[in-house]
Symmetry: C2
Subunit: 424 residues, 2 copies
């Protein structure tokens, strides 16, 4: 029985048939190439806990304290959360890592709660400069005043930053640049904050480029003088849908723990285990993965420009420093025709209408997931070719198979090895 998009017939609400439809759609998804900068494909190893009984459980006894087994069931694996946090701390060169947030927005809410007080002001980046769409409204709903800062191609104007700090009411500068091909100069921002308003905290929401920071391709905010950084763990970092926050300051860590107690109850045990496995699995290769992600993004940008696409950015510096590549299109109809032809063949692109400095509907592409799966220069070249072809006509059904045929080894343990070496 076919399950249609209208959901109208009685047979369609048989949950078994809906389960069947999900499994069938998942089979197609397994083959697809995703070029979405905010998504990644969790590794087969790291996905194991998601389908386990630990998904159903509360877990708080990270230290394995024999008199803190209020909730049971995690006794034999209690140490895995801490081992994962250690791996994350090593990659981030950070003394403290909070793995309690259950999403990127959960990490944002926690950080605002921990590092600013109601009635005070939090500075964030204007959405027209790549800031997160939700930050100002979220701040208002949490009783903070919001003040916005511009940021053009990663350049924050020092005097503008000094001006927004001048009233002396700013608890926190929350650098929420998500959409960027150039990362802000955190060091410059830290210098201005320290000079103008030393009690103000500087936090970098690195959700999009977290994998690149941990891999050393984007400057580490802590090394630049930020008080803390963090974000979601499923974009350029190839982990589950969770959040992390890093700091070197004991008092910041303590503030985060205190806020976490009030704002997060279960931190989602299975996903915390998945984060640990992701972190430990990618750690030995994180530098190579980050390098390849940025290299692939630049190659994709150049190849698309060569094929006549209007790629955002400066060609002389490879268009992008991150995993993101932005492409202008000729209007909504063209954008959807392109996206639909690609999707038909199993290539999924992200359409956006709010990238800073761009108008209309455009492509926001990400090299992160295909890189994690093993794409190198040849595959990227073919992928760019497929995008160029799809401007004109439908793609051959074998397109994705051919591109995948060019993939090298993935940055995760392949299922064969999982089976042979660990019986998984």
């Amino acid at each position: 029985m076919t399950v249609g998009a209208d959901g109208k017939t009685a047979a369609d609400v048989d949950p078994l048939m809906l389960g069947r439809a999900i499994v069938d759609a998942d089979r197609r998804a397994a083959h697809a190439l995703n070029l979405v900068p905010s998504e990644n494909r969790i590794s087969p190893l790291a996905a194991l806990p998601l389908g386990s009984d630990f998904y159903n459980r509360y877990f708080f006894n990270t230290a394995g304290d024999p008199l803190f087994w209020e909730f049971r069931g995690g006794e034999d694996i209690a140490h895995i959360e801490a081992l994962g946090a250690q791996a994350l701390r090593r990659m981030a060169s950070a003394q403290y890592c909070n793995v309690r947030p259950i999403s990127g927005m959960s990490a944002m809410i926690l950080t605002v709660a921990a590092l600013s007080a109601p009635g005070r002001t939090v500075v964030s980046i204007d959405q027209n400069s790549g800031g997160h769409y939700a930050t100002p409204a979220l701040l208002g709903r949490m009783g903070r005043h919001s003040r916005l800062l511009g940021c053009k191609d990663g350049q924050v104007d020092e005097s503008e930053l000094a001006d927004v700090l001048a009233p002396g009411d700013v608890d926190l500068v929350y650098v929420d640049v998500q959409n960027c091909v150039r990362v802000p100069d955190f060091g410059l921002m830290a210098d201005v904050v320290n000079q103008v308003s030393p009690a103000t905290r500087l936090y970098v929401d690195a959700s999009h480029y977290l994998g690149l920071v941990l891999g050393g391709l984007v400057e580490n905010p802590l090394a630049c003088g930020a008080d803390a950084f963090g974000g979601s763990t499923h974009k350029s970092f190839p982990g589950p849908h969770k959040g992390v926050i890093f700091t070197n300051a004991e008092d910041v860590d303590e503030s985060l723990r205190s806020a976490q107690f009030d704002m997060v109850s279960s931190h989602h045990f299975a996903e915390t285990l998945a984060l640990s496995l992701s972190a430990l699995e990618v750690e030995p290769r994180i530098g190579d993965y980050a390098w390849a992600t940025t290299d692939n993004a630049r190659r994709l940008a150049c190849a698309l420009a060569d094929a006549g696409f209007r790629v955002y950015g400066d060609s002389r510096s490879g268009y992008t420093d991150t995993h993101q590549v932005w492409v202008e299109l000729d209007g909504t109809a063209d954008a959807y025709a392109l996206s639909n032809r690609l999707a038909e063949a199993g290539i999924r692109v992200n359409l956006q209408s709010s990238m800073p400095g761009m108008s209309g509907v455009h492509l926001r592409l990400g090299s992160n997931e295909v890189t994690f799966e093993g794409a190198g220069p040849q595959a990227i070249e073919q992928l760019a070719g497929a995008l160029a072809t799809a401007r004109e006509r439908a793609l051959e059904p074998r397109t994705v198979s051919e591109i995948r045929g060019r993939f090298g080894a993935p940055f995760y343990t392949d299922p064969e090895k999982l089976k042979l070496e660990a019986g998984l």
Copy 2:
């Protein structure tokens, strides 16, 4: 190789071996009997999406709008979120159901953001009366004033409620009673609110007893005059770790949608699919499941009392109206000896030290999960016997198998049927 609890040796940080340890622990967990009122075991059908590629994806196009495929991949299953929400609305007799919260606390944050303003007051239930531990601090972190209300065994004092509303500064009464064997009288509360402060919203956080409300065993807060109710979906309701909010008021729904846009980005696609499957699967049996859950809780309470346990509550009315059963113990050492012996045999109990009206470490038991798995009167009788035995000595290894041998059919589709009828 054994993975120990100390996490010290180098071999322990091999992620493959940690994955192996998780899979081994999961095998033991599959057999265990969980008596934890805040947990449930998601059904095999509803768990399918959790291990799928949809776990990795964003999804916003519930209506399947052909010009809103910014994020792709869910085209063939876009209708399943709406079908699940319809099932939830039918069970809750509610016109609107918001399935965006990603946890119970996320639903709490969203509700506070939507139905109260910074600087205003939110009334919640004193933790000593069963209120959620985090509410007052969370309110403070969101810039709201917190005012507490007592509630003894479900009884709110009318004049006390009138008093806390009298200053005229209360936007929201947030009924966050989690730990209760008697549910508050929502109708009485709604009457007082309407008389004293008609502009104040009344919200019931039904996280713990959600399954009992949807099954008709606990009075529906909306029918009693509450403006909205909701909570987490994995306690007495046997779904994934998500949150829902129900209302019949269009303006409340609109306020929730507006807050959701600011406070939640991805609502966790795989888990939203899991919630839909849970809801559609349990809907035809929700009344029977809720009835059996409460019946089992009362049988467990009576059997434990007969065996000499000090069970909280009134024996004449079966000790409890919910899925919860509270048992006083003789101190921490005894509590842990009991809990450890039970855990050794695969029976998991929840130790708490903050139930209202109780002192020291005690048991907070829940009948919800074993009921969902098929426990009836005979199994409950044997389970109570096992608890009584474990006060004195270790349990026989076969105890859990024997108890499971008394189980009837579960309230979900068994794996054989999934395979035969849908090839899953």
